[in-house]
C-alpha cells in the first residue's frame, strides 16, 4: 500500500502558516481523507521559521510522515532546511530561480508575490492553497466552502486569492496534478489534542478548569475559556500555577469536576498540591502537556521527558493515577475518563500529553465519540448520619463516601495533616499507618478502572511505548507480519498484563521521546525483561514513521 501524500508549507513566523495549514487539514477531512498534521514554530511571535505539514490518504493513515511530496516555501530560501525531506519525485515551490544541482528537477517557480500583488496581504497565503487544491486534485467546491466558512470576514478576498492560485497551477503544472483519489472513510471534522481534551472535559461534565498559560497546554485553556458561557462551566486563569492547583482543589472539595492544565514547569509548582490532594483525598485532574525541559527548555517543541516526574510527583506516599493518550481520540477519551477517575478514586489523576499530540490535528467525530461517554460520580452521601466519618476505613477499595458542603451532618475537615476517620489531625502511630494503607488501596481499584495496555499485532517482536509515539509506530509497522506494538496507556499503577505480554516477547524495542528511556526504568520497577534496542529521540522533534521503520529493518 502506498505511503500517504505529504504536503508541507514553510516560511517565516507571523505569516499565518498555522492558520492556512489548519484550513488545509480541514479541507482534507471534508474530503474524508485520513489525515495527521504537525507544525513547528519557534517560541517567538515574529521572525524565525515555521512549518506545517500534513499526511493524508483515502486509506487508513495513522501518522504524519517526514518525506514530503509537495513543499511550499512561502518566502524564498525557507525550503532549504527541508531538502533532505523531499521525496525523489517531490516538488518544491518557491519564488526564486531553481538551485543548481540535483534538486533542480524538483523545483518549480511559484510567483507568489506577483499573484498576490493586487490582493490584501492577509490573504496572500490563500494563493498557495489554491495551487495546492489543484495539484492534489481536491474538489474545488469543498475548498471554497471551507475557506468561506473559516474566514467569513475576508471571504471574497480569500476566494479570489484561492482562484488565482488554482488557475496558475492549472495553467502551468497540470501535468504535475495527482490523479483523482478514491473516496476515503475518515471522519469529516478535525481536532488537535488540546481541543480533544477540552471536548472530553465538556462531555465528561467537567465544570471547573483552571490554568496558567504555558505552551503547549494553552490551547485547552483558550478552547474552554471561549466555551465557558455557553457550556456553563467556570474557567479561571489565576495568578500562578500554585493558585491554579489549589483553586481546583477547593472547587473539587466543593463538588466540582475539576481539572487544571499545564506543562512541566507548572506541574513543578503544583507538586505540593498534588500531594495535598493525595492526603485530603480530593480528586483533581492534572493535564500535563510536556515540552522540552529542563527549566524553560524549548517551549514549543515536543518531548516525553516528564514521565517519571509525573509518576513520582508530590512528596510523601499516596496513590495517584497517570494515564497518557496516544492520539487525539484518546485525548478526548482520557479527559472524560480522568474526571470519572478523580470522582471515583478521590485522588490526583495526571493525564500526560505532549506538544506533538496536543497541537497536531487528526480526524475526529464528536458525535461518535460522545456516545461512549459515561459519567461516574463516585461515592457521595446525601443523607449522612450524625456520626458521619468522611475518611472511614470501613471499605475495601480505600474510597470512603464523601459529602459535599451544604449537606447537613456531613461537615468534615479535609486535612493536609494526617488525620483520623473524621478528618481531625492525628499523630497516632496506628491511625497514621491505617490511613496511609486505606488510601493506598485505591491503587488496586485503579487497576480495575484505568485504561488497559493495548497490544497491536503479535507480541513476538514487540515495540513498547507510550503516549504520542503511537501513530508513528502504527504507521511504521503497518502490514508488518513481524512486529507488534504494546501501548502502555496507564503509566501508574502498572497493570500486571504488561508483565505477561513482555514475558512472551522475544525481542523488545523501546521507543521514547526522551534521553533516558524513562518508560523502561518505570517498567523495570515491576517487571523483568531485556531490551534489544532503544529508539530514543530528544531533539524536540517527534518520531516519524520512516525513522522507526528504518531502525526496525536493521534488527
Amino acid at each position: 500500500m502506498a505511503q500517504p501524500t505529504t504536503v508541507k508549507i514553510v516560511g517565516p513566523a507571523g505569516t499565518g502558516i498555522k492558520s492556512i495549514g489548519r484550513l488545509l487539514s480541514r479541507i482534507l477531512a471534508k474530503h474524508r481523507f485520513f489525515l495527521h498534521d504537525y507544525s513547528e514554530y519557534p517560541s517567538l511571535v515574529r521572525g524565525g521559521h515555521n512549518t506545517y505539514q500534513v499526511s493524508f490518504s483515502p486509506q487508513e493513515n495513522f501518522a504524519v510522515f517526514r518525506t514530503v511530496d509537495f513543499l511550499f516555501s512561502l518566502q524564498p530560501g525557507h525550503w532549504q532546511e527541508h531538502q533532505k525531506e523531499i521525496s525523489p519525485q517531490g516538488l518544491i515551490f518557491s519564488e526564486e530561480t531553481p538551485p543548481a544541482g540535483k534538486l533542480k528537477k524538483n523545483f518549480l517557480f511559484f510567483p507568489l508575490s506577483e499573484l498576490a500583488r493586487d490582493l490584501p496581504p492577509v490573504v496572500a497565503n490563500t494563493v498557495s492553497l489554491g495551487a495546492i487544491g489543484f495539484l492534489l486534485n481536491l474538489k474545488k467546491e469543498i475548498c471554497q466552502n471551507t475557506l468561506a466558512t473559516t474566514f467569513p470576514q475576508a471571504k471574497k478576498e480569500n476566494l479570489r486569492a484561492f482562484q488565482k492560485g488554482w488557475e496558475f497551477a492549472q495553467q502551468h503544472w497540470s501535468e504535475k496534478r495527482l490523479p483523482p483519489f478514491s473516496q476515503g472513510k475518515g471522519e469529516k471534522e478535525i481536532v488537535d489534542g488540546n481541543e480533544a481534551f477540552g471536548w472530553g472535559f465538556l462531555k465528561g461534565k467537567g465544570d471547573f478548569y483552571a490554568a496558567y498559560p504555558m505552551t503547549p497546554s494553552t490551547g485547552t485553556l483558550h478552547f474552554l475559556a471561549e466555551k465557558q458561557k455557553e457550556a456553563k462551566i467556570i474557567v479561571r486563569h489565576p495568578e500562578d500555577e500554585i493558585a491554579v492547583a489549589n483553586m481546583a482543589a477547593g472547587a473539587a472539595f466543593a463538588g466540582a469536576r475539576a481539572a487544571v492544565g499545564t506543562s512541566g514547569g507548572g506541574l513543578a509548582l503544583m507538586n505540593e498540591t498534588i500531594s495535598f490532594c493525595g492526603i485530603a483525598e480530593i480528586g483533581v485532574v492534572f493535564y500535563l502537556v510536556q515540552r522540552v525541559g529542563p527549566a524553560t527548555g524549548m517551549p514549543t517543541w515536543t518531548a516525553q521527558g516528564d514521565l517519571l516526574f509525573a509518576v513520582f510527583s508530590g512528596h510523601g506516599e499516596f496513590p495517584k493515577v497517570v494515564i497518557a493518550p496516544g492520539d487525539q481520540k484518546e485525548s478526548f477519551q482520557f479527559s472524560w475518563q480522568a474526571l470519572n477517575l478523580a470522582a471515583e478514586l478521590q485522588t490526583p489523576i495526571i493525564v500526560v500529553s505532549d506538544k506533538f499530540l496536543a497541537e497536531s490535528s487528526a480526524n475526529f467525530s464528536l458525535e461518535k465519540q460522545q456516545k461512549e461517554v459515561k459519567i461516574k460520580k463516585g461515592k457521595i452521601v446525601i443523607n449522612p448520619r450524625e456520626d458521619f466519618r468522611r475518611y472511614s476505613w470501613q471499605n475495601k477499595d480505600g474510597c470512603s463516601p464523601r459529602t459535599l458542603p451544604g449537606t447537613k451532618n456531613g461537615e468534615f475537615l479535609a486535612n493536609s495533616y494526617e488525620h483520623d476517620q473524621s478528618g481531625f489531625s492525628t499523630e497516632n502511630a496506628f491511625v497514621a499507618a491505617k490511613m496511609a494503607q486505606k488510601r493506598m488501596k485505591k491503587l488496586k481499584k485503579a487497576l480495575q478502572i484505568t485504561p488497559k495496555p493495548q497490544l497491536f499485532g503479535r507480541p513476538k517482536n514487540l515495540i513498547v511505548s507510550w503516549g504520542s509515539t503511537k501513530g508513528s509506530i502504527l504507521a511504521a509497522i503497518k502490514n508488518s507480519s513481524k512486529w507488534g506494538f504494546l501501548q502502555i496507556k496507564t503509566l501508574w499503577p502498572l497493570h500486571p498484563e504488561i508483565g505477561k505480554i513482555l514475558s512472551q516477547a522475544q525481542k523488545i524495542v523501546l521507543v521514547e521521546n526522551n534521553q533516558l528511556g524513562q518508560l523502561e526504568t518505570l517498567l523495570k520497577t515491576h517487571f523483568s525483561f531485556s531490551v534489544k534496542k532503544r529508539l530514543l529521540k530528544f531533539t524536540g522533534r517527534p518520531f516519524f514513521p520512516e525513522e522507526i521503520k528504518n531502525e526496525l529493518e536493521k534488527i
Binding site: 489565576p238 495568578e239 482543589a249 458542603p405 475537615l413
Partner: protein, 206 residues
C-alpha cells in the same frame, strides 16, 4: 443560636493565654449570631498556630497547605457562591508564602473573609521573622535583627482595590462585631488581627 454547636469537642492545643483563643471564640459567636448553618460554611485554614483552629470548629473545613488557604477558598466560592467562605491564617502564610493570592483575592473582590492572626512571627515553627516583623527586631532566624521593611498589608490591599474591606483590629476589642461585619460585607474582607504571641513574642521586644 448557641455558638457551642460550632465546637468539635477537641481541646485547643494553643499555649495558655494565646490570643487565638479569643479569635476562636469570637468567630464561633459571630457564626452563631449571624444564624449561619454549619453545613453552609466552608473555612479554609492556613498552616500555623492560627490555622490549627481547623480541628476546633465544626463546619465544612479544609486545612490547606502553608500559604494556600486563599486560593482554596476562592475555588470553593467560585464554584459554590451560596456558601459562606472564610479563611483563617497567620501573617506568615497569608502575607508571606501566599501573598500573591491575597493580592489576587483583593483584585477579584471575591466575597470571602480573610482573618489573619498577625502575631508578627512564625510561631508554629518556634519564632522566626515574618513579613510583619518590625525592621531590626531579632528573631530566631534573624538574631542580628531583620533587615527587611515590614509589609503594610492592609494599606497595600486597599491600594490594590479600594472597594474591599481591610482593617487592622485589636484582638480584644469588638472582635466579634468586626468579624460579623466582615462576613456580611459583600466583597473581599481582610481583618488583620494584631496579636502578640505569648510564647515567642518577647523575642521581638529585645
Amino acid at each position: 443560636m448557641n455558638w457551642k454547636k460550632f465546637d468539635t469537642g477537641k481541646t485547643p492545643t494553643w499555649c495558655p493565654g494565646c490570643p487565638n483563643y479569643l479569635l476562636w471564640l469570637a468567630l464561633k459567636q459571630s457564626l452563631a449570631e449571624l444564624k449561619l448553618k454549619r453545613e453552609k460554611i466552608v473555612i479554609a485554614y492556613d498552616i500555623g498556630c492560627a490555622g490549627n483552629m481547623a480541628d476546633f470548629i465544626k463546619t465544612y473545613g479544609v486545612h490547606t497547605l502553608h500559604g494556600r488557604a486563599i486560593p482554596v477558598a476562592m475555588g470553593v466560592k467560585y464554584f459554590r457562591p451560596e456558601l459562606t467562605v472564610i479563611v483563617v491564617g497567620g501573617d506568615g502564610g497569608i502575607y508571606g508564602e501566599g501573598l500573591n493570592h491575597l493580592v489576587t483575592a483583593a483584585r477579584a473582590n471575591i466575597d470571602i473573609t480573610v482573618l489573619v492572626a498577625n502575631n508578627h512571627l512564625y510561631s508554629l515553627t518556634t519564632g522566626q521573622a515574618s513579613p510583619t516583623t518590625p525592621k531590626g527586631a531579632a528573631s530566631k532566624s534573624t538574631p542580628q535583627g531583620t533587615d527587611l521593611n515590614p509589609l503594610p498589608a492592609v494599606a497595600m490591599v486597599k491600594k490594590v482595590n479600594p472597594q474591599v474591606l481591610a482593617e487592622t483590629i485589636s484582638p480584644q476589642q469588638h472582635l466579634k462585631e468586626k468579624i460579623k461585619k466582615a462576613i456580611k460585607f459583600p466583597g473581599f474582607a481582610l481583618l488583620d488581627i494584631d496579636q502578640t504571641c505569648v510564647t515567642f513574642g518577647k523575642l521581638l521586644r529585645k
